[in-house]
Each structure stands twice: as C-alpha cells, then as structure tokens.
C-alpha cells in the first residue's frame, strides 16, 4: 500500500474512533452538565438511591458467583469436549446473548407462572416472580452465557497437553483442571467475572419483567433510574446514571487491565 494511502487510512480510522469516543462522552455527560450539583448530591444520599446501590451490588455479586460456578465448567467443556451436536449446544447457549433481555425475562415469567414445574419451583422452593431472587435469576440468565462466551477463548488458548501431562504425573481429571488449567486461566476467568459483574449491575430488561419494579423491594439502580424517569425526577435519575457510570468505568478499566494480562480478547 502506498505511504500516502496508508497515512490517509490511518487518519480516517483515527477520526472514526475519535468521533465515537466524543459521541459517547456527549451522550453520557450532557445530562449531568445541566444538573444542579446540590440536587445530585442530595439524590445520591437519598434512601431510595442508597437502597438501590446496596441491592444492585448484592444481587450482581451473588448472580456473578452463581454464573461463575456454572460458566467455568461449561466454558471448559465447550472448549475441550468433542461430542455430536456440539455446534447445536454452542448455538443454544448463545441464544440469551442475541435475545432482547425483555424477551428473556418474559420467557422466565411465563415459565414460573404458567408451567407446572415453574409454578412448583416458585411456590415451593424459591419465589422468583416479583421478588429479590428474581433479580438474581434474571441477572444470572443474562450473564452466565456471556461469561461462557468470554471464558471459552481463554480455555482454548491453554494447550490441553498441560492437563494430559499433569495426568501422567498422578493427577486425575479434576485434579489436573484445578491444579493446572484453572490457575493458568485465572486472569482470563477473573476478567470475564468482572465484565459479567458489570453487565449484571446494568441489567434492566429481564429484571424488570421477572422481578418487577417495586420501590424499596426490587429496585436495582437501572430500575430506580427507570422509576425516577417515569415520574420526571431528573436529579435522582441523573445521580443514578452517574453512579452506574462511575462503577462501569472503574470495572471496565480493571477488567481491561486483567484481560490484557490474561490474553483475553478485549
């Protein structure tokens, strides 16, 4: 490629990147520019916002832990196992990523309110519909497959011969996974967990459909924002946006740092 053409392309691609960054900055910060800082501070300290922060952090943490428990072995199996129908399984577990979260929440709501198994679980084991566990389940449904997608390349990048070698040294399949594969994948797994946690904090569509939007009950930060917007309380809505923004930026910065160290695609 001629030098002039190369320089032109670099300029064009740089301009596109700059445009996107400025666009996002304007969209996000435009609201805060026109908000009163005192009103924002008071909104931040309000009981409703404090409740939403605690509930969001708690549910996101719990759902991320559950998601990891399932996603780590699932991603490992998807990376290593060879079985008929693997492509189909791969597609199936990707569906929740492609599906709008509201649709996922609707499917869960229908399952727990209209199917015998769902009704049994909701009535006799754990109450999910319009309750706090529903938030965790909604977040789990969205982030677990995302975590699988993020972790599979991490396991793909680890030579399976390390595990086989560990087995010749006297360790079983589980022992080889715990002592070799998992430590080698830890940076990538941690990066995926951080991203999944960030996604759980911002989860709205599936949560509002399954757990509902009840003040001081199922009011996570995104739901609190929605409730405040619906009654035109812009100060509270803006305070929540800034809180979410602060959390998201810090989490993304941390996960990028870890992802680069762990060789995870970022």
């Amino acid at each position: 490629m001629p030098l002039k053409e190369l320089a032109g392309f670099k300029l064009l691609s740089g301009a596109c990147l700059g445009f996107l960054a400025v666009f996002i900055l304007i969209v996000i910060f435009a609201g805060s520019m026109f908000s009163d800082p005192r009103a924002l501070a008071s909104a931040f300290l309000s009981d409703e916002v404090q409740f939403a922060i605690v509930l969001t952090l708690a549910t996101a943490t719990v759902s991320t832990m559950f998601a990891l428990l399932v996603s780590v072995p699932a991603a490992y199996a998807l990376s290593r196992a060879r079985f008929p129908g693997k492509d189909l399984v791969d597609v199936l577990i990707s569906i929740p990523i492609a599906l709008p979260p509201v649709a996922l929440g609707t499917a869960l709501l229908i399952f727990f309110t209209n199917t015998p198994l769902g009704l049994f679980i909701d009535n006799s084991i754990v109450k999910f519909v319009f309750e706090t566990p529903g938030i965790v389940l909604a977040q789990f449904s969205v982030i677990s497959v995302l975590a699988v997608r993020l972790m599979k390349p991490v396991f793909d990048g680890i030579d399976p011969r390390y595990e086989k070698l560990a087995r010749t040294l006297g360790h079983g399949e589980l022992g080889s996974f715990i002592r070799v594969t998992l430590p080698m994948a830890k940076d990538g797994v941690f990066g995926a967990a951080v991203l999944a946690w960030a996604r759980a904090m911002g989860e709205f569509g599936a949560t509002v459909t399954l757990a509902g939007a009840t003040r001081f009950k199922t009011e996570t930060l995104p739901i609190a924002m929605f409730l405040n917007l619906s009654v035109a309380n812009l100060e509270n809505a803006m305070a929540i946006i800034l809180i979410l923004l602060g959390l998201t930026v810090s989490v993304l910065l941390v996960s990028r740092k870890i992802a680069y160290r762990g060789g995870m695609p970022s």
């Binding site: 086989k164 010749t168 040294l169």
Partner: protein, 351 residues
C-alpha cells in the same frame, strides 16, 4: 492399536528394565502417538499395553506410573522450578522438599531454586522436565524429542549429559526408557537398541549394528541413507549371491535368493570407499571379496568433517567419507575414481 482414523499396526516392542530403546522415524510416522498411547494420554481402540506383565491398556494415565517428557517440555508456567518438579509428588513434607532438592542436585540444577520457568534455557527446561518425570519414580520413562527446541551446538553437549543421567537413573531405578527422535545421530547416542517406525508400524526393531548390517525393508534402508540398487540375481552360492545392476555385477550376502529374481541391493555410503587407482587401499581388504567399479564423481557435498560424494559407476552410488580425505584425493565433479565395497557390506531385499 487403533486410534480413530490413524492405526498403529503390528506394534510389538519390549524394553527390559534398566535399558533404553530409541524410537525413530520420519515426521507423521506415529512415534509420538505411540508414546502417548503408552503414557495413557491417548486411549487405544484395540491392542494391549503391558508393564512388567501387567495389562495397563485400560488403566487411566495417572495410574500407569509413567514418566513423560514431552517434545517442548511443557513446564507449568504458573509454577516455579521446584513446584514443577514436586508436581507429581505424593510424599509428605519435609521428605518431599528434601527429595526435590536431592533430585535438583543430582541433575545439576540446584541453582534454579526459586526461578520462574520462563527464564530457563532449553537445556535447563529439559532437565527440569526430566526431574519432574523422575521424582514420581516411574516404571517407564518416555522422552519425546526432548531436544527439538535446543540449538544444534547445545544439543550435542546436552545429549551427552542426558545419556549419562539416563544411564545412572536406569541402573538405580531399574527403569525402562523409550527415546523418540527423528535424528539418527541423536538416537545412536541415546540407545544401543532402535525401533524404526513408518506409517504407524515398526519396520525394524534391532541393535544398531544389526540395522546397519542388514536392513529388513526398503524403507529402513532408505531412512538410514543406504544406496538402494535395483537388479536381478545372476548366480547364487550358499550365503553369497551375484546381482546384475545396470550391466554390472554386485556380489553380496544372501540366504534365500533364486537366479532370475528381482532384488534391491543395499549398501551403506560409509561402506563405499573411493580411490584414484584400482587397488584396495586398506590392508585388511587385500583378500576379501570386493566390488570394485570405475566411475566419475558427479557431486561432492561437505558437511563439516564429513563429505558425501556421489559417483556414477553405471548406476548412481553415494559414498560418505571424511572431508579431509576428499581434499587429499582432490575429488571434484568429473574426477575419475574407483568405488569399492566389501561383499559382506551388501545385503539384498526383495524388490
């Protein structure tokens, strides 16, 4: 032994305790696959693997007591040198740490305590991988081209060191070892016994002397770099036969040939001697039955102290000699020479 589409056929190898076997063959011949089957890394669909008479065919890899040193050592990158070595240990502390230190001292790598594996040289990695395999006190040691990632100059030194270590280990632990390589020189250093593999089967399993004297297949002869000459038997006499190759008679040792049969005469390039006059240069050759042919040199290739000289004597013939001798004889393309080799150095294969 069957593994999906790839089949290891007619594999029958035995390595006595305290001895080592070199497994050689071209890339893709199934050497590593065979090693992985023995280690239990791959499961075979049919066949049988025994250690000291005990069937281990369906035994899980972790229960076979096999020490495996793979091609690229595969040291665990998240562990230090001593953690790698101790990985397969089952002993309680403080015996475990003591044995790791003893093993490191024995292999001359005590200075690597606390080191990260990424900072090691090729030779150090190989010794750490060997220590890791040996500390579990295996029944069989499997070494898969452990020097493939080491530069040529270091390889010669490391080979000597490994041979010495292996000899000691084999004696003290009554350990049977299999050394895989595609490098014949490396295999000769590592073992007296060799098995040559091709397309999933053992072509020949013998001592080096036997293989160099009597290759049993065209593949073995070709792999070992023999001259392979197609001809027809013209006369036989007890254990000798005369074969017509491109109008020239070659005498060699043969047991069961018949006149008129098409055969391949094979002779090592090292056994072919070149001289400028029609005489037998070596005193011991004076009364032997020798094949002597006049021809002209077609090419001379010097590789360090050795040289390969190709001669056209009515058929192409390669000779391997010292570069010094090539210079002494002033050999170059077009030189007229006499190529000679003993009848005892010629063996015949069925065409």
């Amino acid at each position: 032994m069957k593994l999906g589409a790839f089949t290891l056929r007619k594999i029958s190898l035995s390595v006595p305790d305290g001895e080592s076997l070199a497994l050689v063959g071209p890339n893709g011949s199934g050497k590593t696959t065979l090693l992985e089957c023995i280690a239990g890394i791959r499961q075979i669909e049919s066949g049988r693997i025994e250690f000291n008479g005990a069937d281990v065919t369906h035994l899980a890899s972790e229960k076979r007591q096999v020490g495996y040193v793979p091609q690229d050592c595969l040291l665990f990158p998240h562990l230090t040198v001593e953690e790698n070595i101790a990985f397969g240990q089952r002993e309680p502390e403080p015996e475990a740490t003591t044995h790791v230190k003893e093993m490191m001292a024995w292999l001359g790598i005590s200075h690597l305590i606390g080191h990260n594996t990424t900072s090691l040289s090729g030779g150090e990695k190989q010794k750490v991988a060997l220590a890791r395999a040996l500390i579990t006190r295996p029944r069989v040691l499997l070494l898969d081209e452990p020097f493939s990632a080491v530069d040529r100059s270091s390889r010669t030194r490391l080979l000597g060191e490994l041979r010495k270590s292996l000899d000691e280990v084999s004696r003290s632990l009554s350990l049977a070892s299999i050394y895989v390589t595609h490098d014949l020189a490396e295999a000769q250093v590592m073992s007296q016994h060799v098995a040559i593999m091709n397309r999933g089967r053992i072509e020949q399993d013998d001592t080096w002397n036997e293989i160099l004297q009597t290759p049993r297949s065209t593949f073995v002869a070709d792999f070992m770099g023999f001259n392979i000459l197609r001809g027809r038997v013209t006369s036989t006499d007890e254990d000798r036969a005369v074969v017509d190759v491109a109008g020239q008679n070659i005498e060699g040792q043969a047991a069961d040939l018949t006149v008129g049969q098409d055969v391949l005469a094979v002779v090592r390039p090292e056994a072919v001697s070149l001289s400028l006059e029609r005489d037998i240069r070596r005193q011991s050759w004076r009364h032997c039955q020798c094949n002597v042919f006049k021809g002209s040199v077609t090419s001379v290739r010097k590789i360090g102290p050795l040289a390969q000289v190709s001669v056209d004597v009515g058929f192409p013939l390669d000779s391997e000699m010292s570069s010094e001798l090539v210079d002494d004889l002033n050999l170059a393309a077009g030189s007229v020479v006499f190529a000679q080799f003993r009848a005892s150095e010629v063996s015949f294969l069925h065409a």
